[in-house]
């Protein structure tokens, strides 16, 4: 049974992630009063991309992108997901924090082998942005871990069983809100899409990607969407023992996040960092102080 | 049994007969100080074990004190006598090549007289005799400071002369008071009659004598002559002045305070003066660009440290002070001697002109570095042991005053470190090393460097044998009654 989880959870995560990607394009289109692409569009894109011919600039160009996706897939195994958590006793939330690094670092290394100036700009922006959202994110995770006095994600979920959801507890309410605010930054979507702004710097680190490279990067993005939201569900909405139920929670959070942020224009880098260090951080900090005070 | 009087008589005799030898051959002159000091050194070392078992007291002319003059060859005396003879020997070897200009005959006579005076001061048991030897030391050093006959030298010699004379005048007045009060000049006999410095007469006598001796010992604020005198004298003389002369002044003060007056009441004041001397000296040295002035200021600082150590007045403190005297004599002699040849090669006393010395004169630079490290108190050099002992003495003495003072003393070592390390950097690392050819000092100069450096390291690693002597020397200072009884029987 345990062994099956190792296979099932990444596959389910992939499906949900791809679905959310498609869904987000539809919803955005509707908000912009367009018709939008079909839900299956990301899958179609992937098939197309995998069949294309590509160019590469060197071994790190390949390794980086593989590393990026491999890290993200491995990360799925650490996240409690509908009653599954294949690697529960392996370091908990702290490991999750770190494995989230694989993706940006891999992409950055891979892009670095190219000499396109847009890549450098994109990488720089990506890292700055991550510095921006990590402040509230770390505070949020710390608030949760301190409140439940554990570093294990599974234990955090357990502690919220029978509807003791963290989001609706006094100390963790503000961190929960802060998390919703930073979701777009973590995913690099509007208004925080400065690192991969297609119109401005030709998708940044991915400027020289084509074919399978782009496909792997897209898959990575799909996984990231799922992971970011799943983490929220686990930490603040009590996770779930049931995959379907878990999926519904993810869906609701995703749509709410999308609606809030779809109408904003893109931040400049400094604005983004300043925003992230201001509101979400203050909220998360307040939560942490309340946790300590209780 | 060899008579310790020879320690004084031989150098004195050679000094006066030196012009006669000079008539035979000019080249002979420079060997006489070496011979005299070699004799003194061997005799002193020979006497060490005997003196340690019990002091040798020589009655000049067979008159027992208080009626006659006596030589008290105790552990303190022999300790100083070894240092004087050792440093004197090394400096005279160095001077064989270094002193070429001027009337070399006079130089060697004065040099021997200076050392004779020093020997006499540490060995005599009679306070007026002490004064006389002291004058011999001082007068020859006035003359030697002006030896080069340049403007600087003469100016500082005159300044030194004036201040020194005031000092000796005060000492003489003090001695006259003593004679008037107690009718004796024998130190043990005076000590027997003085039990307190409470009476104003006693105190004023003491004040006169320590002020007077303080001039020669370069205690703040009476040390203003020192930077001028030490920096304008020939380097060999600077080494003697810094390495021996001022320590003799400290010895005399210690003798007066501990043995004659037993004046333990004023020691905390003396400790304070010592620390001020130390701080002022080190602070003045910090920004010096003239190497010899820097070393001279550093000497005043070190004297302050020695005075402080003595003023702790526990047996640890005196031991530490004596050890620091040893360390300072060796290190400062080495520094001045090494600096001497570097100045000779570059023709400038500016520190900045010593760039590339590490390659040009590697052994001289090494000697300088070892001296500097030892003076800062870095292990494994001798300076570490003395710093160790001083801090130990101060902190085991206890009390807020000494703790604060030792903290200040350590602050001074930080300043000292700053300027010495700067010079070491200039020697080895500043400027470019290219186009520098090797111009090492001559062998006769390298011998003293080598001996001093080896001694500094050896004593730094194995201070045990030295401590053996110092223990007895300390008890001579601490046990005043024993000294009195020893002399007067």
């Amino acid at each position: 049974m345990k062994l099956a989880e190792f296979i099932i959870s990444p596959i389910l995560a992939f499906i949900i992630g791809i679905f959310l990607m498609g869904l987000s394009r539809r919803i955005m289109a509707r908000i912009h009063r367009r018709y939008g692409p079909p839900l299956m569009q990301p899958v179609i894109d992937l098939v197309k991309l995998f069949s294309q011919r590509t160019v590469s600039h060197g071994p790190i160009f390949d390794i980086g992108v593989i590393l990026s996706l491999a890290g993200t897939i491995a990360l799925i195994l650490f996240i409690p997901f509908g009653g599954m958590c294949p690697l529960e006793a392996s370091g908990g939330l702290l490991v999750i924090l770190y494995i989230m690094l694989f993706a940006p670092l891999g992409l950055a290394l891979s892009g670095g082998e190219g000499a396109n100036p847009n890549i450098s700009i994109g990488i720089s922006r990506k890292f700055i942005l991550s510095l921006g959202y990590e402040v509230p994110f770390i505070l949020i995770v710390l608030a949760v871990m301190t409140y439940y006095h554990t570093i294990s994600a599974v234990d955090v979920v357990k502690a919220q069983s029978s509807f003791h959801w963290a989001l609706f507890s006094l100390p963790l309410f503000l961190p929960g809100l802060a998390y919703i605010l930073i979701i777009p930054a973590m995913l690099g979507i509007r208004p925080f899409d400065l690192a991969s702004a297609p119109q401005e710097i030709s998708s940044g680190p991915m400027a020289e990607y084509g074919g399978k490279y782009l496909a792997l990067a897209e898959i990575e993005h799909a996984f990231s969407i799922f992971i970011t939201i799943a983490l929220f569900v686990d930490m603040f909405l009590g996770g779930s023992g049931n995959v379907v139920y878990f999926f519904l929670k993810v869906l609701v959070v995703f749509i709410i996040g999308l609606l809030i942020n779809a109408v904003f224009p893109r931040f400049r880098t400094e604005q983004a960092v300043k925003f992230l260090w201001k509101w979400p951080s203050v909220m998360a900090l307040a939560g942490l102080v309340i946790v300590l005070a209780i | 049994m060899v008579n310790p009087v020879l320690l004084i008589a031989v150098p004195l005799g050679l000094a006066f007969s030196l012009p006669i030898f000079g008539l035979i051959s000019k080249r002979l002159e420079k060997y006489l100080p070496v011979i005299a000091m070699l004799f003194n050194l061997s005799l002193s070392v020979y006497l060490v074990p005997r003196v340690l078992t019990h002091p040798i007291i020589v009655y000049i002319g067979g008159w027992a004190p208080p009626f006659g003059i006596d030589l008290f060859v105790g552990p303190v005396g022999i300790f100083f006598s070894v240092i004087i003879a050792l440093v004197g020997l090394l400096v005279s070897i160095y001077a064989m090549d270094y002193i070429k200009e001027g009337d070399t005959g006079k130089y060697h006579v004065l040099f021997l007289l200076l050392l004779t005076g020093a020997q006499g001061v540490v060995l005599t048991g009679d306070i007026f005799n002490l004064f006389v030897f002291y004058e011999i030391l001082c007068i020859s050093s006035y003359a030697l400071v002006g030896y080069l006959r340049d403007r600087d030298g003469l100016e500082s010699a005159i300044k030194y002369l004036v201040q020194g004379s005031i000092g000796t005048g005060l000492v003489l007045t003090g001695i006259a008071f003593i004679y008037g009060l107690y009718g004796t000049l024998n130190m043990a006999d005076i000590a027997r009659q003085i039990n307190s410095i409470k009476p104003a007469a006693n105190f004023i006598t003491l004040a006169l004598i320590i002020t007077g001796l303080g001039v020669e010992a370069a205690i703040f604020p009476m040390n203003a002559w020192l930077p001028d005198a030490h920096s304008s004298a020939p380097s060999s003389i600077s080494a003697i002045l810094s390495g021996i002369a001022i320590e003799i002044g400290v010895y005399a003060i210690a003798r007066v305070i501990f043995t004659i007056f037993g004046a333990t009441d004023i020691l905390s004041f003396v400790a304070l003066v010592g620390i001020i001397t130390l701080l002022v000296g080190e602070m003045s040295a910090l920004k010096q660009n003239n190497i010899k002035r820097m070393l001279a200021y550093s000497s005043t600082g070190q004297i302050g440290l020695i005075v402080f150590a003595f003023a702790i007045a526990t047996s640890y403190g005196i031991e530490a002070g004596l050890f620091q005297i040893l360390n300072h004599s060796l290190s400062k002699a080495l520094l001045f001697l090494a600096a001497g040849y570097m100045i000779y090669r570059t023709g400038s006393m500016e520190i900045s002109s010593f760039e590339g010395m590490g390659k040009r004169m590697p052994l001289t630079s090494l000697g300088f570095t070892i001296g500097a490290f030892s003076l800062i108190g870095l292990p494994p050099f001798a300076g570490f042991a003395s710093k160790f002992l001083i801090v130990k003495a101060a902190l085991t003495k206890g009390g807020g005053l000494y703790t604060c003072l030792i903290a200040l003393a350590l602050v001074a070592t930080v300043i000292e470190g700053a300027y010495f390390f700067r010079v070491v950097q200039v020697l080895y690392f500043r400027g470019s090393n290219e186009n520098v050819t090797r111009q090492e000092a001559p062998v006769v100069a390298l011998v003293p460097f080598f001996v001093l450096a080896v001694l500094i390291i050896a004593i730094g690693i194995y201070p045990g044998p030295v401590m053996h002597v110092l223990n007895s020397a300390t008890s001579e200072f601490v046990h005043r009654i024993a000294y009195i009884q020893g002399v007067l029987r």
Partner: protein, 616 residues
């Protein structure tokens, strides 16, 4: 083989190497390497040994050498880095001036560090400590130019430190009449907290300076960046950790964990204050590092920050924290040495370490790139490197100990670390290769070899952290900490376990899966960098990609906040002291009249005090 023999070999060998250098440079190099390897072998054989023996008498005190697991751990790190950096020196230093001196000092510093960790009493500790200090001073100054100021700054701060140490040591002596560490430790439990605190503060100044704990860190950035690279590796890797050793000795061996816990309450306790200093040490230097453009300066500031983690772990005083701090010390030794060596190799080949002018070297030095990458990952604390495990331990103890703010600083510092570590990687190795470095070659073997060893250590300890953690656990238990449930794969615990093998397997399997997908897709065509940038048309000649000023938006935000105020303060203080000194010197006017007045004044004061105030 006794400890005395080891030190005799270490010091004697150093001088022998120097003398041999006068004879033949080749033999000197061989002897230097052999010597460090022999020392390494001997130290390795000491594993598990405990004991104490006196080796000489100094001023009536027995100096003794002592070995236990704690000193062994530090000694093996010293010996390893000593031999690796000596091997690295072979080609790095080739052709430079005064090599005999260089090797002599390297070996002496190495030997004195062994002496420090094997010292059984405070005196020999001090002796070796000072030998290390002046040896380091000479080596830092070796590069001339700006290195001189760095060296002077180092040594002056170092003397301040030893001053504090002397005071601390002698006040212990005044109370316990012994310098032996074990003896003092056995008697100290009855001492009053105030006294213990004053001694600890004095020792903290000494060790804080060497360890570059903010606000005592200011010597480090200059010294590390100006020293020759192999020595920077030693300096950053192990020399500053002597301060860490000192902290462990003074806090947990001398004072002891029990007495330490009574020094104050809550926030106002000694170890919490130290932890706060450590947190500041992590936070500010990390962001100063981010703003540097000299690769070695980045690493230097990074060393300060990483030392903050070590002290944070040790100061917090739980068994997890202690283990994390000690482990991080080992890890920092490995990855920072590796990074300094890699930067040294780049500098050796290109002649510069300016992050704004390098770029694209990966094409020429792929091996060095891999090494830098591994080092940087270790520095970040990336999973599967040793840095991850130690940081994990520190974070965990902070979170569970209800110190989330310290944990926040530690984690946030890590994200700053990611930025500057990546900046080094990117600006040196990535992007476009400048014209002038087209002819650059890969580093020679004698540079590659030590780097490979270090990178193996980083990965090995990252995947099997149990190896060092078991040793550290023994140390912890001997100091009175609770034993940890250490396994070869990490640490078992009911509040969240760590299993590095699981992480490793998860990533490995995912890697294979993704790689298979990647391989299944059509093979890609290997092209030049400018090929698809210009879409096949005209490419601007010269350089079209610069990665200068890499994180400009962040610089603009943080610049007003990350100023090394402490350094500015110290420099102002030094200036004020110099002025004061100059004023003092002016007392010596050169005028005879005033000099005579001084003499008379002194006499007058003496007599006035007696007659007027009658104080004697």
């Amino acid at each position: 083989m006794s400890l005395e023999m080891l030190l005799v070999i270490a010091f004697g060998g150093a001088f022998l190497t120097y003398l041999l250098g006068k004879l033949s440079p080749v033999l000197r190099d061989i002897l230097a390497v052999l010597l460090t390897l022999v020392i390494l072998a001997i130290v390795a054989l000491f594993y598990g040994r405990t004991g104490e023996s006196s080796f000489m008498n100094f001023l009536g005190f027995n100096l003794s050498l002592r070995i236990n697991t704690l000193s062994w751990l530090f000694a093996i790190a010293v010996a390893t880095l000593g031999s690796l950096s000596t091997i690295f020196s072979l080609s790095y230093m080739k052709g430079k001036e005064r090599l005999d001196f260089y090797y002599l000092m390297m070996l002496i510093v190495n030997a004195s560090m062994l002496g420090i960790v094997f010292s059984g009493d405070l005196i020999s500790f001090y002796v070796f400590w000072e030998i290390m200090s002046w040896g380091t001073f000479l080596l830092i100054s070796y590069n001339r130019g700006p290195a001189l100021a760095a060296g002077l700054k180092y040594i002056v701060m170092s003397i301040v430190g030893s001053t504090a140490y002397l005071l601390g040591m002698f006040s212990l002596y005044a109370s316990y009449s012994t310098f032996n560490i074990a003896d003092i430790a056995s008697r100290i439990s009855t001492a009053s907290p105030g006294y213990l605190l004053s001694v600890l503060v004095l020792f903290s100044i000494t060790f804080g300076i060497k360890n570059a704990l903010v606000p005592l860190h200011t010597w480090l950035p200059d010294a590390h960046s100006e020293a020759p690279s192999p020595f920077s590796a030693v300096l950053s890797g192990i020399l500053i950790k002597m301060g860490t050793y000192g902290f462990v000795i003074s806090m947990y061996v001398l004072v002891g964990i029990k007495a330490l816990s009574h020094l104050g309450h809550g926030i106002l306790s000694f170890h919490f204050m130290l932890a706060i200093l450590a947190a500041v040490t992590i936070l500010v230097p990390t962001f100063i590092a981010l703003m540097q453009d000299d690769a070695k300066r980045v690493l230097a500031w990074s060393s300060i920050a990483q030392v903050g983690y070590i002290i944070l772990g040790i100061a917090i005083g739980t068994s997890l924290g202690f283990a994390g701090g000690m482990f991080h010390f080992l890890n920092h030794a490995s990855f920072k040495a590796l990074l300094f060596m890699a930067i040294g190799a780049v500098e050796y080949r290109t002649g510069t370490r300016d992050l704004n002018s390098l770029g694209g070297i990966i094409k020429k030095m792929p091996f060095t790139f891999m090494m830098t990458l591994i080092g940087a990952l270790g520095l970040i604390g990336f999973p599967l490197t040793n840095g991850f495990v130690s940081k994990w331990l520190i974070y965990k103890t902070l979170i569970l100990g209800k110190d989330p703010f310290l944990a926040f600083v530690a984690l946030f510092g890590t994200w700053g670390t990611i930025l500057y570590a990546y900046k080094i990687l990117h600006n040196i190795f990535m992007g476009q290769l400048p014209e002038e470095y087209k002819g650059v070659e890969e580093a020679p073997f004698s540079m590659k070899f030590p780097m490979v060893i270090l990178s193996i250590i980083i990965i090995l300890f990252g995947i099997l952290p149990g190896i060092p953690l078991k040793v550290i656990n023994v140390i912890g238990v001997s100091l009175g900490f609770k034993s940890l449930a250490v396994n070869i794969w990490g640490i078992a615990s009911d509040t969240g376990a760590l299993n590095t093998i699981n992480i490793f397997s998860a990533i490995l399997v995912s890697w294979i899966v993704v790689w298979l997908i990647f391989k299944a897709a059509p093979t890609s065509l290997r092209v030049e960098q400018d090929n698809n940038y210009a879409a096949g048309s005209y490419v601007p000649t010269g350089r079209y990609l610069y990665t200068a000023n890499f994180y400009a938006p962040v610089y603009r935000i943080i610049k007003p906040y990350v100023i090394d105020v402490v350094d500015i303060f110290y420099m102002a203080l030094a200036g004020a002291v110099r002025t004061l000194c100059d004023w003092t010197r002016r007392m010596y006017t050169g005028e005879l009249g005033s000099y005579v007045m001084y003499i008379m004044l002194f006499l007058a004061v003496l007599i006035t005090m007696r007659l007027g105030f009658n104080i004697w």
